[in-house]
Symmetry: C2
């Protein structure tokens, strides 16, 4: 049977390796792991020709080009920017995104939790608790609050459905036109202004591509709806760190274009201990935990794809390299 | 047209009065308002015989008995214990609970927010943020986490549906047997032990009745599931303050039967500034704001019931005085 290379940087490879062993005991799975950012020059992979599949997280640039018989690359997380950024990435080998119900549900939990935190003024109540102060704020119903989700892939589509069930005015924006039952959708550059204008809580689930780099900037924040039911605009970024300009978020909070932000991802991760985001009273920082890859569910998913591929079934969720996701 | 008495203690009557004026400009609406706990002896209601309907919040005991032609009493909030506790309450007059989609959705928001806060370890991440510490905790999927909702009336039934959509193992407990699609239900005293045993996050939405008084006590907390996916048991009380024993919650947190609690209601409200609950790191205190009565939606609901009643349609959601809700 064709071998699998498990190449993992900057994360504990042990649970992944254990899961491959448990679910595919007869398949050869070779492990490389090391620190993030290491060049492939220092990596030795024995018997490279036998490797047909690579399952990777932050692989050293150049590593995949060293595998002459590679048939597919699987990402161990929701994003693929950590693979596509390799200039030596073989052009003909399909790169597969993870689309797994487990990952989708985790992301929906995170989005719903943080939309409700802003909507229900939980951070104000947290402050009052510290002050032993009993005071109830006026609470608009969800039906008067406009939530806007950027990115309507599998993750975005699930999140908007639950937000709609909770009664919010939900709209979505995507690069290409999408139709979703009961959800107002906008697309492309010309739909973007109208989408921002009606949105009080902006949820970003976009992939990192050259087009989306730095999209969450001061200009965008200024165009959100500040005079809606919540009396302010809020940002939730659970997409990719490269999308956001940390300094612009701080500036927007300072001038009032944003009233609060929940950030799970950052241009530099871990977020440097000196970042002003940590201590800002209106910012919630979480350590890129919105939708962690669970080896249990994801390895089963990858092995199923490999088996079907070997039986001649086309791979699912292959990345469009032009679009970058 | 028969007159309405609006009797409101301990809360600002102005938005309620304004809403009655706006929606029923031709109906006479007489207002009494004052501090909570005042006896009816000091209250003067002119032309008492013309009043057919009373819309009340914390009415002075004895007040409703002063109205000889009273046809119905409407509660301005989800509970009716503040009415039924009046020993002089006329026996033949129906007491009507508020059942309004607006109130239901607010309660579901609160329950979902706080279940996700515990499930997603948000309080741990809050502490880490204060310490500028980037560390990701192992996160079980919702499918491995058992949430149990006590009280399967209109509020409980809506909450369990959304929790199920998020993937949790949801069960419900009620006094009388209930069947809900896709939800495991328990009832009565003999179902209670099994319900507690399988529950990691206990959500309480019960009404306050002589039977439920102090039900949230140390004995109950000790029977929750502590060795489940979350590695601890959690309490969310958004029902009534009289259900809970504050000292037992603190004792359960101390000994580890509970790992955290979210409390919106308390035996004494406002929660006294000296209560140890305010400062406990594992407790979230909110000021009875889970499902605030919104005059906008609720007054329309009450007026609709009154108009239909005058056309001979039976009142809906009349309280069963024997059961207490």
């Amino acid at each position: 049977m064709a071998a699998i290379l498990l190449a993992i940087a900057g994360m504990d490879p042990q649970p992944w390796q254990a899961q491959f062993r448990a679910l595919a005991p007869r398949r050869e799975v070779r492990l490389w792991s090391g620190p993030a950012g290491m060049p492939a020059a220092g990596v030795t992979i024995p018997d490279r020709g036998s490797i047909a599949y690579a399952c990777v997280w932050l692989p050293p640039p150049g590593l995949l080009a060293m595998l002459p018989n590679l048939r597919a690359v699987f990402s161990l997380g929701a994003g693929v920017d950590h693979i596509l950024c390799d200039p030596a990435l073989p052009k003909h080998v399909p790169v597969v995104r993870i689309v797994d119900p487990d990952l989708t549900m985790r992301m929906t939990e995170y989005v719903v939790l943080h939309v409700l935190m802003h909507h229900r003024r939980q951070r104000r109540y947290d402050v009052q608790q510290r002050e032993h102060r009993w005071y109830e704020h006026v609470q608009p119903p969800a039906a008067e609050v406009a939530v806007g989700v950027m990115g309507l892939g599998v993750l975005g589509q699930d999140a908007v459905q639950v937000l709609r069930r909770l009664g919010f005015q939900v709209a979505g924006w995507s690069r290409m036109p999408k139709q979703i039952d009961g959800i107002e959708t906008f697309h492309g550059a010309h739909g973007f202004a109208r989408f921002l204008q009606r949105t009080e809580i902006l949820v970003c689930l976009l992939p990192a591509t050259p087009e989306t780099q730095g999209i969450l900037c001061l200009d965008i924040f200024r165009r959100l709806k500040r005079d809606g039911a919540l009396g302010g605009a809020y940002l939730i970024n659970a997409g990719r760190g490269a999308l956001q300009v940390d300094g612009d978020i701080l500036a927007a909070l300072e001038e009032g274009s944003l009233s609060g932000a929940t950030l799970d991802v950052f241009p530099a991760e871990p977020l440097p201990p000196t970042s002003a985001l940590w201590d800002h009273p209106a910012v919630t920082v979480t350590p890129h935990c919105a939708a962690a890859s669970d080896p249990h569910a994801l390895v089963a998913n990858i092995l199923r794809q490999i088996e079907r591929h070997e039986q001649g079934v086309p791979l699912e969720h292959v990345v469009d390299r032009g679009a970058g996701y």
